[in-house]
């Protein structure tokens, strides 16, 4: 029985083992897209502004579907400009084998154990299914960084969920269980139509006011409601002042900024501040410096105004 993704498991920051996963609040449209992709068995292509949460989506879905066992069922393949399709599936250590054959080492006979290094995609296909029936999750991050042909080289793997290892006599390996594939792209290059056809597509819009407030509230502990409102308004103004060609600060920048403001709120009245903290607060205080470019100045003005009222 397929458990749908609801987006409710990561409303608060959660701990897994020794690390934390930050809260992730998807929009309703995004939740629908994820569930549709799961149901239909097709990859989900996610695009959006940089910093809007494309990469974190896969992790959030993995957490909700697999909980503590997340690390066994979540696979992440980061694409670089030099990545070839084969790299994600396996790498064959030809030189190592050549060397071993030359020195007469017996282990050269067993190719699979010693000379095949499986990549994230192969690992995702080989992983057994979680008992609760949830699919394994594979994230292919920033697919547009690679060559134009790269997505086309993956068509067989994405559609049939299988891959071929040439060096093992063309051994065909089929995915042992369901795999939900997330693909993110930054719109730097156009993706080939044959690839696009097979994917479902969703564009993550910048969140609306209510959603922004909700997102931000998960990351702060000390700021009052009034301050949050003021800061959000400031952020909106900044975004609207920048035009299309500038990089607008996005959701992740907003979260970073709020964490900074939160820290400042917590620390400003505390005695016995360390030197570093004092310096940091002094920097945040540095408002009327004409050398500052306008963007940070607006930020600092907010804080200074707040300080003055206290």
């Amino acid at each position: 029985m397929l458990k749908p993704y609801t987006g409710e498991a990561l409303i608060e920051r959660k701990k897994i083992g020794n690390t934390y996963i930050d809260a992730y609040l998807p929009s309703d449209d995004l939740i629908d897209a994820v569930n549709l992709a799961m149901q239909l068995g097709r990859p989900l292509l996610i695009m959006g502004e940089p910093g809007c949460g494309k990469t974190r989506l896969a992790e959030a879905v993995a957490y909700e579907l697999h909980g503590d066992k997340m690390n066994n069922h979540y696979f992440r393949w980061d694409i670089k400009s030099t990545t070839k399709a084969k790299d994600g599936i396996y790498q064959y250590d030809a030189l190592g084998r050549l060397y071993d054959v030359n020195i007469g080492d017996k282990k050269a006979k067993d190719i699979e154990t010693h000379y095949i290094n499986y990549g994230e995609l192969a690992k995702a296909f080989s992983e057994l299914q979680n008992i609760n029936g949830a699919p394994n999750i594979l994230l292919i991050d920033e697919i547009d960084k690679a060559d134009i042909d790269f997505p086309n080289d993956l068509l067989l793997e994405l559609e049939n969920k299988e891959y071929v290892v040439r060096e093992l006599n063309d051994k065909k390996v089929h995915a042992k269980s369901e795999v939900l594939i997330f693909v993110t792209s930054n719109q730097e290059k156009e993706l080939p139509p044959a690839f696009l056809r097979r994917c479902l597509y969703h564009f993550i819009e910048f969140p609306n006011k209510e959603k922004l407030k909700l997102i931000v509230s998960k990351h702060i502990k000390n700021m009052g409601d009034q301050d949050v409102q003021t800061a959000l308004k400031t952020f909106e103004e900044i975004r609207s002042e920048l035009d299309e060609t500038d990089k607008k600060p996005s959701t992740s920048e907003l979260i970073d900024w709020f964490q900074m403001l939160d820290f400042y709120t917590k620390k400003k009245d505390v005695e016995n501040l360390t030197d570093t903290e004092k310096r940091l607060i002094a920097q945040l205080d540095n408002v009327h410096n004409p050398k500052n470019p306008p963007f940070p100045q607006i930020l600092f003005k907010t804080l200074a105004a707040k300080r003055k009222t206290q």
């Binding site: 629908d32 569930n35 549709l36 068995g41 139509p193 479902l200 564009f203």
Partner: protein, 398 residues
């Protein structure tokens, strides 16, 4: 006839319209849509009707791809959805054999409730449930999830396909909306690309430092000694194409055709990194290329033709002039001929690989300026793949 909505294959008309307007979708994508409908998405539980916002969302996820016009998509959806308003999609007579095949094909990897339950939607249930009006108002735009108690919606696929072809008509709306589309030109982009494929001259450059491991290993295995490792060669495209495009006036009708041609050229010259602009240089002019040529269609930014010609590397640059040369209106003007000839002769001093593409077919050039110009430059129509092939062959030096 146009008033019959296509219940059996819902929104098939919309799907066809999308394809005509350049959305590259295959029939598999339509089957996926039917599959999601039969799982219960976007269908109102009480009435069996399509929920409009949910359907639009579903179609967008399935069919709208990045960099495609959302506006066109939504417009077409509005038109083709109209006949489906208030029509129940659920039918009683279900051909189990057909749907059995359908479900086992599409659901090979996922095992949903569809294969287990054999509920048939009972129309009598609807009337008793209409009192639950508030339920339908709840979250109207959410795509409902398929669940245990949701009755199955099945479609008659086998015999309906023949019928739906008839029903694939334009919507009944009074207002006609128009889109520019390259669907009706003689030469499709694909055909152009097939011909232009051989235009870029690729050269393997030896300046890479990456070792091609598998090739080196193979060489070692063959020769028994490791003499020199084999380096990875990267291909570079060495030639350029100068495009001189007549824009405006009689050429406006061919604007889409010329744009398609330019796109086809750019696609064939795209390098690994996706940079085509280094190799294709388009310039625009009005009727005759004169002292200045413009770098954009609005003629606001220009360069001196002399400079453009001087910058040609004669070995590596081909020149393509795209213009009707007066053939569109059938005019025969001395002034135009002389001015064009002057320009062409200047070009010829720099390179011999010049070709003139005329969007009008050959038989329309008689007694026009085009015919006269055609005696000095190799002129071909942009109307058949054959003609384009001949033009490209000239540019390749054959």
């Amino acid at each position: 006839m146009t008033n019959i909505p296509d219940i059996h294959l819902p929104l098939y008309g919309f799907f066809g319209a999308l394809r005509k307007n350049g959305f590259s979708l295959g029939i598999a994508e339509y089957y996926v849509f039917l599959e999601t409908l039969s799982l219960g998405y976007a269908i109102d539980r009480q009435t069996g009707q399509l929920d409009k916002p949910a359907t639009l969302k579903l179609c967008k996820i399935l069919w709208l791809k990045p960099n495609q016009s959302k506006f066109v998509f939504e417009q077409l959806f509005e038109e083709y959805y109209a006949p489906l308003e208030n029509i129940s999609l659920v039918t009683r007579s279900i051909s189990k054999k057909n749907t059995g095949e359908h479900t086992s094909q599409e659901h090979s990897t996922i095992a949903p409730k569809a294969q287990v339950t054999t509920n048939e939607f009972d129309n009598q249930n609807i009337s008793s449930n209409t009192s639950k009006d508030d339920q339908t108002d709840e979250e109207p735009t959410e795509i409902p999830q398929a669940s245990d108690d949701f009755p199955l919606v099945k479609f008659i696929l086998g015999d309906a396909i023949g019928e739906s072809v008839k029903m694939n008509d334009a919507p009944t709306d009074k207002v006609q909306k128009f889109f520019f589309s390259d669907y009706y030109f003689d030469l499709t982009k694909r055909q152009m690309q097939q011909v232009c494929r051989f235009l870029p001259v690729k050269q393997a450059s030896r300046n890479t430092e990456e070792i091609n491991i598998s090739a080196s290993v193979e060489q070692f295995a063959k020769n028994g000694l490791l003499a020199q490792p084999i380096f990875k060669s990267r291909e570079r495209i060495t030639n350029q194409v100068l495009l001189l495009i007549d824009y405006g006036g009689s050429m406006l009708a061919f604007d889409t055709l010329v744009d398609t041609f330019m796109e086809a050229l750019q696609d064939t010259f795209k390098t690994r990194r996706g940079e085509a602009h280094r190799h294709i240089c388009p310039y625009y002019f009005y009727n005759v290329p004169g002292e200045y040529c413009y770098t954009n269609k609005s003629f606001t930014s220009y360069q001196k033709s002399q400079n453009i010609i001087q910058n040609l590397h004669s070995k590596h640059t081909s020149v393509i002039i795209v213009s009707d040369a007066g053939a569109a209106r059938g005019g025969n003007s001395d002034g135009r001929f002389r001015a064009t000839l002057r320009f062409v002769l200047q070009l010829k001093k720099a390179t011999s690989r010049i070709v003139w593409l005329n969007p009008m077919p050959n038989h329309r050039w008689k007694n026009t300026t085009a015919q006269r110009i055609g005696r000095f430059v190799k002129m071909y129509g942009l109307d058949t793949q054959d003609n384009l092939q001949k033009a490209i062959n000239i540019l390749r030096g054959k």
